[in-house]
């Protein structure tokens, strides 16, 4: 019976008080979808700021107006301001007779090595040869893990299919060595042997571990990779913000270089484990402003996707 009042309510000017209860619900919804709490709050505040004082359209309810505004805000956050075109840039580097270098970094166990192998597969599928630099010289089995991937990838792409060329090779110096030095040797070797791309695997490290963060900064500083990718898992909660902020801060503070080399993009892994709790995608891009270059969706080589911002936002806002 209240439907007859719609029009009256419908044409009113929105106040913060009108919006507050709806936004409160929306915030809880975002948190339940695994958006970091303070980012959920900031998002809702930005929606409030946008809508306050606006006249509500005749047919729209407050809830639907909020939802539309929030959708737009999230799509904007997730849409890259800058496109990372690895294939094009790697081809350019090849023209210039130098290898294109990508460094993978992130906290422990998020999927750096596995997704490095997936990126490797994708590069090889696109005709580029790859040298994997085993710069995790700490974690047990890290080198053997990469060696296994190299063997499997070469079996999928045997030299016979590539003019006798072995498409994937491993550069390793075992355990306990300085990772920055190994990366440097690997890059030099790739240059000598005309290998197109160098993928640098690094050890997982906690963002507060200063010695390890310094070591990563050194690796990045002395080798100046073309791309520094931060690998984060879609499972991560509020920590997403802290991880990214502190990786960037360490890269800036410890490098004493102007401007410092920071994170250029994100790989969001384990997207297959979270159903519709897609909030980490928003937390990570909101925090850095950097694009999600790849999404990891499983444990096989083909489980690597591009982010579909609209689809992610749709599942974010779905009840």
């Amino acid at each position: 019976m209240f439907s007859m009042f719609r029009n009256l309510v419908g044409s009113k000017t929105l106040t913060a008080d009108d919006l507050q209860p709806v936004l409160e619900k929306m915030k809880d919804h975002l948190i339940a979808k695994n958006v970091a709490a303070d980012i959920a709050l900031k998002l809702c505040e930005s929606v409030s700021a946008k809508l306050e004082g606006k006249v509500l359209g005749t047919f729209g309810s407050i809830a639907s107006t909020v939802k539309t505004t929030l959708t737009d805000a999230c799509v904007q956050i997730l849409s890259p301001r800058r496109r990372v075109d690895i294939l094009r840039d790697a081809m350019d580097a090849r023209q210039n007779k130098r290898p294109y270098v990508i460094t993978f970094c992130g906290v422990n166990g998020v999927g750096k090595s596995t997704n490095l192998a997936k990126v490797c597969f994708w590069l090889v599928e696109n005709g580029l040869s790859v040298l994997i630099a085993a710069c995790d010289t700490f974690r047990s089995g890290a080198v053997e893990q990469l060696r296994t991937h190299v063997r499997k990838l070469n079996a999928l792409h045997p030299p016979a299919r590539h003019q006798g060329r072995e498409m994937v090779q491993l550069y390793e110096r075992g355990y306990g060595k300085d990772s920055a030095g190994i990366a440097m040797e690997a890059i030099a070797s790739a240059r000598d042997y005309r290998i197109d791309v160098v993928l640098v695997d690094t050890a997982g490290r906690m963002q507060d571990n200063e010695p390890l963060m310094r070591a990563l900064t050194k690796l990045v500083k002395v080798n100046q990779p073309d791309l520094v990718l931060f690998v984060g898992e879609a499972l991560v909660g509020n920590e997403a913000v802290d991880q990214l902020t502190k990786f960037n801060r360490a890269l800036a503070d410890f490098s004493q270089q102007q401007p410092p080399r920071l994170i250029d993009g994100i790989i969001l892994t384990k997207f297959d484990t979270i159903d519709d709790k897609v909030g980490a995608a928003v937390s990570m891009t909101y925090t850095t402003g950097q694009p999600i270059v790849f999404v990891g969706t499983g444990q096989t080589y083909s489980d690597l996707r591009n982010l579909n911002a609209r689809a992610v936002v749709a599942s974010l806002l779905r009840a």
Partner: protein, 306 residues
């Protein structure tokens, strides 16, 4: 300390009660809002947080209550009870028995820290004089056996695994039989990471359980996990008989509140925490002392028992 930040925020919220001259609906709501925000920032499951709020609210009836002191006490006690519920499933932790075989199976999501923690646990018992060993029943992850082998070798712990056998059930069974025959006391079985959306891998986990008949199944959870923990933990519990939880990576910045929802979902206690990548970065975890410390209050026991 783990969750220390959270403890501080909760204590300060509770203090706001003591500072208020009268305790009314508004004061209670303000305090609950603060506590819930702190819990959410620590990744505690939002459903559990809402429940906590409801439960505390339902205990307090302002119309029926008399003196201010009584109200304060009732509210504090209700909050304590709810917080303890988050961390304490109310069941006793499983303990291995000396002089017989104790088979322990590790399960968990990909990359949560199972393999690392297997060695930590084996090392922990070995140092206490138990005869311990490790079995690698992960034939899926590249380099998994090398990882376990290198860890075990460094810690001088006997291990079993295979580079050629592809069926983890076979390896687990063979390993357990071999080590049982050799009278090992703590036999730890490491398995591949998996998640609930992978039906066949969940089925495989069940088969490993049936083949090895573990005395204890430990669910390993990463402290950085957010809201997805609960459904995953529950799915593991529904499939196999999880009885303990270990939370890893608490040396980082993470508060570990997300991982705590594994306690509610599996109705299993946290028995150890991982605090680093090294084999001795490992601590036993006891619920009650933890809660007292967390809330920085001496008289909790008294409050909860009321």
């Amino acid at each position: 300390m783990v969750l220390a930040d959270l403890g501080r925020k909760i204590t300060s919220a509770l203090k706001s009660l003591s500072n208020a001259t009268i305790i009314n609906e508004e004061v209670l709501n303000g305090m609950l809002k603060e506590i819930c925000a702190a819990l959410l920032e620590a990744d505690v499951n939002i459903r559990l947080v809402k429940q906590l709020r409801e439960n505390v609210r339902s205990v307090i009836d302002f119309d029926e209550m008399a003196g201010g002191l009584n109200k304060r006490r009732m509210i504090q006690s209700a909050v304590f009870k709810e917080l303890v519920k988050l961390i304490d499933p109310g069941v006793k932790a499983w303990q291995p028995s000396k002089g017989r075989n104790n088979v322990i199976m590790f399960v968990g999501l990909q990359g949560s820290g199972k393999t690392t923690t297997c060695t930590k646990l084996a090392y922990y018992y070995q140092r206490k004089g138990w005869k311990t060993c490790l079995i690698c029943a992960d034939t899926f992850r590249a380099g998994a056996f090398d990882q376990l082998k290198q860890n075990a070798t460094k810690a001088r712990i006997p291990f079993y695994g295979s580079y050629t056998e592809i069926d983890p059930v076979v390896i687990a069974q063979e390993g357990v039989e071999k080590f049982k025959a050799e009278n090992f006391e703590i036999i730890i079985v490491d398995t591949s990471g998996r998640h609930k959306q992978q039906d066949s891998l969940f089925e495989e986990m069940l088969q490993v359980e049936q083949a090895t008949k573990p005395d204890n199944i430990i669910f390993v959870m990463d402290a950085t996990i957010g809201q997805a923990c609960e459904v995953q933990a529950k799915a593991f519990k529904d499939k196999v008989d999880v009885a303990s939880v270990i939370i890893t990576k608490l040396d980082g910045h993470a508060k570990g509140g997300g991982a705590l929802s594994a306690v509610a979902a599996t109705r299993s206690p946290v028995i150890f925490i991982g605090t680093g990548e090294h084999t001795d970065d490992f601590e036993p975890f006891k619920v009650q002392p933890f809660v007292s410390k967390l809330l920085g209050m001496g008289d909790i026991e008294g409050l909860i028992d009321k």
